[in-house]
């Protein structure tokens, strides 16, 4: 029942938020997000780490004539992503609280988004998953469209159509799988797994392509990333945070839950291509990030690079890679959230994101600068920060898989250091100029958002054990399903 509460509490709250006036509505939204956090922490403590099956599961009939059920549940993989969502949502809402221009509808959309995201991460029914997947797109589209920057109409529409294209192909593949389920057709996740296993190789490849397209666009993996930098740049801060910190994890989660176990033979055969695309993306995006002039765009490209590494690690299909991907998803979510917030803080004060106009902020705002350093080190994967654990495991798995792929992917650490340190130099150090001379330091409100981020980056970096434990059983189970299935078909 807790899972249902987790999904429907924000949904109900989003309707309520619409009915009350500001400033009550934004505090209500924040309180609901905090309540979600509390519920998810209770669940995390009650979570049985040794079990592989979904826990806290609920199974209700929904559209019985079509074999569609409302069935949700949480296993280790879901648990981590639900935690990521519930931890970041209060932060995202808090980051907008001292800005009073946002009407209640903004917060209603945020809560709707949270509901859909948790739905995606917990759905154990193909149709339900698809519905949540699409519903998650609508609030973020409107957040970007209504509160975005210049040219938002065109850019957000491109984003919407781009992602919808992928989703519709996924829908066709889901329908295709549905008709291959045994007995009375059903969208239940286990029957879809079985249906996928029963397919011949060419059919599996078809399903693989359709699913991979949807997930690759969402992440985004090279060459499906062209919507991403524009959208991240034009979106309002909270929209960017939602997109980069949580929503792109939907794509990665999709690969883990709905691609690898469904069509193991095709993954075995074509996973390498996906991996190579991801690795190309790492180098490509890093190189572009190095030459960016716009601070926010730079972070957007760095996000492509980091996600590329996660995707590449996933397709190695070994335990280290999977676990690395899990921990790196959390780390990336937290780090990128902090990064975008810092970009916004600097933009609010200096009215520019142009790197060449910034500089010397460290002299006037030491606190801001220190926080930036910690988050940046998390991003470049320095040991003892959260980024290190994930990237180490991921690169380790890639090297085990194939030395040269691992070596190229390892460039991410070097290139990441290049663009991040260069950014630090340009923004923080050096002499203050007229634009940056009067930048005030972090205020109380901003510290409230950024300190937890810093703490999380360090704590996860030093002591990732508990988090890795949560997902371990589920990951092992997944890999055993994968190897069973891919072996049984051969």
């Amino acid at each position: 029942m807790l899972t249902v509460l987790l999904i429907f509490l924000p949904l109900l709250a989003s309707a309520t938020v619409l009915l009350v006036k500001q400033p009550l509505s934004k505090f209500l939204a924040f309180v609901v997000a905090l309540a979600e956090l509390v519920i998810s922490i209770i669940m995390a403590f009650g979570f049985d780490k040794t079990q592989t099956a979904a826990q806290f599961s609920v199974h209700w009939q929904w559209i019985s004539s079509l074999g569609v059920n409302f069935s949700v549940g949480i296993d280790g993989i879901s648990m981590l992503l639900v935690l990521l969502t519930t931890v970041l949502m209060p932060g995202i809402i808090l980051s907008s609280l001292n800005n009073t221009t946002k009407p209640p509808s903004f917060y209603a959309l945020m809560l709707l988004m949270q509901s859909a995201l948790i739905g995606v991460f917990t759905a154990m029914d193909g149709f339900l998953f698809y519905i949540f997947w699409e519903v998650a797109l609508i609030p973020v589209y409107f957040i970007c469209l209504v509160w975005g920057g210049e040219n938002r109409g065109r850019i957000t529409l491109k984003f919407f159509i781009y992602t919808l294209t992928g989703s519709l192909f996924m829908l066709v593949a889901l329908i295709f799988l549905y008709f291959h389920t045994a007995g009375k057709h059903s969208f239940d996740i286990q029957s879809l797994y079985l249906a996928g296993r029963g397919l011949g190789e060419s059919q599996q490849v078809f399903v693989f392509c359709a699913f991979f397209l949807a997930f690759a666009i969402k992440m985004p993996v090279f060459p499906f990333h062209t919507w991403q930098p524009d959208t991240y740049t034009v979106a309002p801060l909270q929209g960017t945070m939602l997109l980069s910190a949580i929503m792109l994890k939907m794509g990665i989660y999709g690969v883990i839950r709905w691609l690898i176990p469904v069509v193991p033979v095709a993954v075995n055969k074509w996973g390498e291509v996906a991996m190579i695309l991801a690795v190309i993306g790492i180098v490509y995006a890093s190189c572009i990030a190095i030459v960016q002039k716009d601070f926010k765009r730079l972070i957007a490209y760095s996000s492509i690079a980091h996600v590329g590494l996660i995707a590449a690690g996933l397709f190695t299909l070994n335990r280290i890679g999977m676990q690395g991907a899990m921990i790196q998803m959390l780390s990336h979510g937290i780090v990128v959230f902090g990064m975008f917030y810092i970009v916004e803080i600097i933009f609010e004060r200096t009215k520019t994101r142009d790197l060449s106009q910034l500089g010397g902020i460290r002299n006037v705002a030491p606190l801001l600068s220190s926080v930036f350093i910690v988050i940046m080190l998390g991003s470049v994967a320095l040991p003892l920060t959260s980024g290190f654990i994930g990237e180490f495991l991921l690169i380790n798995s890639l090297v085990q898989y194939q030395v040269w792929i691992g070596a190229v992917a390892g460039l991410t650490i070097i290139l990441g250091a290049v663009y991040m340190l260069r950014t630090f130099q340009k923004v923080m150090s050096g002499e203050s100029n007229p634009v940056t001379a009067l930048v005030p330091d972090l205020n109380y409100h901003e510290r409230l958002v950024l300190y937890p981020v810093v703490i999380l980056v360090l704590v996860i970096g030093v002591y990732p054990g508990p988090l890795l434990n949560i997902s371990e059983a589920a990951v092992n189970n997944l890999l055993s399903i994968y190897s069973d299935l891919s072996a049984s078909v051969k």
């Binding site: 559209i63 519903v135 609508i138 209504v146 109409g153 294209t165 066709v172 329908i175």
Partner: protein, 453 residues
């Protein structure tokens, strides 16, 4: 059946109201009358039977579609109260509208080619007049004339087709026609021509490409309430007639007709969707959209002639609810600003959020975004066609629905930008918008509620 009596009765009442000076009662009586018709229909729900020596046949199919037509009529009447406010021709307009509804009901319940023809004519002739009811507007007159010319041409095709089929089978009864066709070994060649002519005639009525050319001009020129009537009630009636005749009488030809149906479908999907992208007037865009939606219906029907009526019923319900919602907003905007140009929607979100939300819901539903009804309609269509192995055609439909997203989102993008002046709307309109939004969500989230056919 009794519902049909009630509807015809109100039509006659409206005509008499002019003579006996009951004008002020017309609107109230009409509204109550439709509700009574729905009640009567519910009472008749279990009695499946023939009427008038097998001329009419009220089975589940006919009753479901009659119910849909009546429910949509209620909303239509609600949205177009203003249309009947003027002093001139109030009773005539009301009578004509009820004859349109009566014609549509006959088109879903006929069991005889003659009744089909009668229904189409009652519906069409009333519509020709209604399309031109805004007499001082040149475009309205043009629409009326164009619709009349094209429509009578189509009727000619239909009638000729019916004649040829009669010549070959010796019957007007659609079931006997099916019997003769399936039992006799050597049918005369001209029966095929007859069937094709019937298809062409009906394709005009449902406005499938390439027989759609009248639709954009007529939709744009006619008064907005009449446009709404054409794209909902009339479309439901016409498509149900199409389904009925080809799934009952000519089911044996379904394999030979497949190519024609699929040809119509692909042309409809591609041409209508692509043309809609370039429209700057929302009424015209909705005209192309209503043509395009026929493509999805044809995809469902051509995939499985015999068992697609449930899917088609759901799709038409979803489509009609979303269309009525969109036209309600378009009408309010048009009254306030003079035309339905997309640029007039600028800033609607800030000015009148309820209307903007209503329009957004309507567009999202028409575009097929979950969890709205339009998505589930498309989902059912795609499921049906994939299950019959038409994966390639489904891919075409998927791609055209992506094009659809592009133009359906144009008004949304415009509405969300810049500031706007509030537009005042009455409480009854507010209530209508809220009910329609709610219904669009409800049948999208719980589709089992209306999957009854």
């Amino acid at each position: 059946m009794n519902a049909l009596f009630v509807i015809c009765g109100i039509g006659v009442f409206s005509l008499l109201a002019e003579v006996f000076n009951w004008k002020k009662w017309v609107t109230l009586i009409s509204f109550i009358g439709i509700c009574v018709a729905i009640g009567v229909l519910l009472l008749d729900w279990r009695s499946v039977s023939y009427y008038y020596h097998g001329m009419l046949f009220f089975d589940r199919f006919a009753m479901a579609f009659t119910g849909l037509i009546l429910v949509i009529s209620v909303f239509w009447y609600w949205m177009s109260v203003d249309f009947f406010k003027g002093v001139a021709h109030r009773t005539d307009k009301s009578a004509l509208v009820f004859f349109v509804i009566a014609g549509a009901i006959m088109m879903v319940s006929f069991n005889n080619m003659a009744v089909l023809f009668l229904g189409i004519e009652i519906l069409s002739i009333s519509l020709y007049v209604l399309a031109g009811s805004d007499k001082e507007n040149l475009f309205s007159t043009e629409a009326s004339f164009k619709y009349f010319l094209m429509g009578s041409f189509a009727t000619g095709f239909l009638l000729f087709g019916i004649t040829l089929v009669y010549g070959a089978t010796g019957s007007f009864n659609i079931v006997s026609i099916a019997d003769v066709i399936s039992s006799s070994k050597d049918l005369p060649r001209f029966v095929y021509i007859g069937v094709l002519l019937i298809m062409v005639g009906l394709a005009f009525k449902i406005s499938a490409v390439p027989f759609h050319l009248w639709a954009p001009d007529v939709y744009q020129g006619a008064p907005t309430p009449i446009t709404a009537l054409m794209s909902t009630v009339v479309k439901i009636g016409a498509f149900a007639a199409f389904v009925k005749i080809f799934s009952v009488s000519f089911i044996r030809f379904s394999f030979s007709l497949l190519l024609f149906e699929q040809g119509l479908m692909v042309l409809t999907l591609v041409i209508a969707n692509v043309t809609a992208v370039f429209q700057s007037n929302l009424k015209r865009m909705l005209a192309y959209s209503s043509v395009a939606q026929v493509g999805y219906l044809l995809l469902a029907f051509s995939s499985d002639n015999a068992h697609s009526s449930g899917t088609i019923f759901y799709y038409l319900t979803a489509y009609a609810l979303a269309s009525i919602l969109a036209f309600t907003v378009v009408q309010i905007i048009e009254n306030a600003k003079g035309s339905a140009n997309i640029s007039h929607f600028q800033g609607l979100l800030k000015g009148s959020p309820l209307m903007a939300i209503a329009m957004t819901i309507a567009m999202l539903s028409l575009a097929g975004i979950p969890p709205l009804a339009g998505f589930f309609g498309k989902y059912l269509v795609f499921t049906l066609s994939v299950s019959k192995g038409f994966v390639g055609l489904t891919a075409v439909a998927v791609i055209t629905s992506l094009i659809g997203v592009y133009y359906y989102f144009k008004p949304i993008v415009v509405m969300c930008q810049s500031e706007g002046q509030p537009i005042s709307i009455s409480n009854s309109q507010k209530a209508l918008l809220i009910i329609l939004i709610f219904l669009n969500l409800l049948i999208g989230i719980f589709p089992d509620l209306i999957r009854i056919v």
